[in-house]
Symmetry: C2
Subunit: 449 residues, 2 copies
């Protein structure tokens, strides 16, 4: 299959040269448009050992202004990476709007390695494939261009290259044991590569198999696809993305207005007693969490002045300070705004055994961003599913996820606002926006779908 999938016949030398020049010029010219239209471009380069992935990336970026690209090389996961969700390091490396990121191998390589060395079960493989499909679709839906190249050489060609590199003291180091192993088990590896590509070959992010026999020819194939892809992505740029059905099972949630808030108050004494007991229990659990390497994510949402801060404080009092982080989520910074809206949450995840507490969360997409018009209607509608997919990723990883909505009624909120306004040391806590939202009681209709 890998062979027959070639898309192009290698042209004669002169034609190759001419077409290469043409494509290089196109790429050079189009980078301005990429910047203008704020298109983020992720290029995944996978392939056989010694196929020339690094060289290819080197040639391609030669045509791009160095301020507009970065490269990210992924080897076996580091100790830290092993403690994070599978997609974490790839999501974290996403390019900003208007820039390129070239992945020198990535999520394909990680999965395929696990298949080849037998460490990845069928069930885990399927989970990974599902994750990858969601990940790639989310990128596209959120305006990324994703191009996936597989650099292909034959068994003989690989053997020839290995022998040649081995024969020279200066190049010997470039051959890894795994390259040699791969060549000896070429057929097995080929089957696994093929299966992976079949499983992740979607219409909007297809695989391009590159005949990697020569450097120039590789570059031409990649440039032609890259330029075509950029052209199409620029055409798609202002289009809204169709919504899809949310396939996640959802629990019916009560409406906020139906939640009884009266008659639930504790006496100070009762409160102290319960708090002590529960904090003790939490401390103990935090220890076990750490030993068992379970990641814990606590998400706080709720009305302004509902008391999220105080609540978080009571939780953290019980935790070992070396094992948790609190992330107050305000408006995104420019570098955050230039990426997938979930990027700033992906990059703030705890490592396993640790706790991350979010004071406001990714649900901002369907609340404040919706209300304030920071994203389009299509964006926030689509986000319900995307958020479920994000949480599914965390759940697959083994995280415990707890989401709190802290509820107060309108009168209580007004009372607290007024108190804040009138107490000099609390005035920083209250803003124009808070007052605006006070009026807007339909602010949070969509929670839990």
């Amino acid at each position: 299959m890998l062979k027959s999938a070639y898309l192009n016949e290698k042209p004669e030398k002169e034609e190759l040269k001419a077409r290469l020049k043409e494509q290089q010029d196109i790429l050079f010219a189009i980078q301005q448009k990429i910047k203008e239209k704020k298109l983020p471009v992720a290029v995944l380069v996978e392939g056989w050992g010694t196929a020339g992935k690094g060289t290819l990336i080197g040639r391609v970026i030669n045509n791009i202004d160095p301020r507009f690209y970065k490269t990210a090389t992924f080897g076996a996961p580091t100790d830290l990476e092993k403690r994070m969700p599978f997609l974490w390091r790839y999501f974290s490396a996403l390019p900003e709007a208007g820039k390129f990121c070239f992945y020198n191998t990535g999520w394909m390589n990680e999965v395929v390695k696990g298949r080849i060395d037998g460490s990845m079960s069928d069930a885990l493989y399927e989970q990974r494939i599902a994750s990858i499909r969601r990940f790639e679709r989310q990128l596209l839906d959120n305006g990324y261009l994703l191009l996936k190249f597989f650099m292909h050489i034959s068994e003989d060609e690989q053997k020839k290259r290995i022998d040649k590199l081995k024969g020279d003291v200066d190049t010997k180091w470039r051959i890894s044991d795994s390259d040699i192993w791969q060549n000896k088990h070429y057929k097995e590896c080929e089957k696994i590569y093929e299966q992976y590509m079949e499983d992740t070959d979607t219409s909007s992010a297809p695989w391009y198999i590159i005949d990697a026999k020569s450097e120039k020819w590789s570059e031409l194939q990649v440039l032609e696809r890259l330029n075509e892809g950029i052209d199409i992505a620029l055409q798609n740029h202002s289009l809204a993305v169709p919504l899809i059905q949310n396939v996640f099972p959802l629990k019916k949630m009560p409406k906020l207005q139906d939640i009884p808030l009266e008659g639930k108050e504790l006496t100070e004494e009762e409160y102290r007693e319960k708090l002590d007991k529960l904090q003790g229990r939490l401390e103990e659990l935090h220890n076990r969490l750490y030993r068992k390497r379970v990641p814990l994510i606590i998400a706080y949402e709720g009305w302004d002045a509902a008391g999220k801060g105080g609540n978080i404080k009571r939780v953290t009092e019980a935790l070992d300070p070396r094992g948790y982080e609190v992330h107050p989520i305000a408006s995104p910074e420019p570098h955050e705004k230039a990426r997938h809206y979930l990027w700033r949450f992906w990059t703030r995840l705890p490592k396993n055994g640790h706790v991350a507490i979010f004071d406001r969360t990714w649900y901002g997409r369907v609340m404040v961003e919706r209300i304030e018009g920071f994203c389009s209607e299509n964006d926030w509608k689509r986000a319900y599913n995307e958020i479920n997919e994000f949480e599914k990723e965390l759940d697959d990883w083994g995280a415990v996820i707890i989401k709190f909505w802290v509820q107060i009624d309108k009168d209580t909120q007004l009372e607290r606002f007024t108190e804040r306004q009138n107490t000099p040391e609390k005035q920083w806590k209250i803003t124009e926006e808070d007052w605006r939202h006070q009026v807007c009681t339909v602010a949070y209709p969509g929670i839990g779908r």
Copy 2:
């Protein structure tokens, strides 16, 4: 896998009743919107034998005005259907805009049957999966809502139902041999079902596995998904669909203006001689085509007055009249316009061993429909890929496809127009539109991409 994929827990009787009533009312109310917005809805109902597919469809359509739906039941392909491309009967049954079609089993069943009885090779299975993915994506991209339900019952439940139906003279006929066989080989079949659903479970057309233990509960699950799907499709209604990269290998075509038209004329004598010889050869080939059951599709495009009609006549002179059909393609009729733009070509395909000649073709989408603004820019841009996918389907089927562009220059066209205008018996051949296109020399820039 089938079991764990349940999306919902069966509610208690009272809640089930209430939710069912609610969903029935929603469907009843929403059908007006479907009509208004001209949304076509295709519902595929697959599942185990005796799972109650027919009953389910019966219950669902009870909530819809009979003018707005049809049902299509598919058994083993008939002799005619066997002579047509795989997707032909499913494509032909597509609902019009504003209406429902319920497929009582469909393309899944056909593929899965081939896997179960061992008649379908791995390679053919993969080809079918690829066809189905393209088919389903094209439906969605062209504004269809597609919902796919799998009615699931356990091995024991199926056995119980079979025994019960068999025990009664009045219901005995409802049990087929294949139901009994299926129950005996439940595990094998389950694996094949699962694999198929995994292979075709896409974000925009996911599989819904319906717990088919009870009729009302089945109906509720289907109605909830159906209503949700309709709601989302109505929201998507006015959105343009992002373009995707064309993954088909394409040959470079010369520009029309670069085609030399001079110095190619034959003398009358040469012409007669060559024509005779070639017509004789064609006659012979038509015979072999018929015996080998190869379908032949001849597509004519070209400038008005280029002489397509005469050309076609010279071809058909050589053909056995029982073995070909000529399809003049004019503006689509209302019932054609209400469907996928390729529908009128799908339904005009020849059976194998026969010839279909199209006088103007599906390329109208990227020519006249583009020029006259009959479809949006997004529609015709997307069509390049869709047309390639259509032709790939025909190629997979084994068809020979020949596409002619009949070229004349502007002066020759003007000459012929004038002649037509001045010859009473030819005046029908010339219209306002022809004159308009005469001016428009950029009319056909996109051919061959």
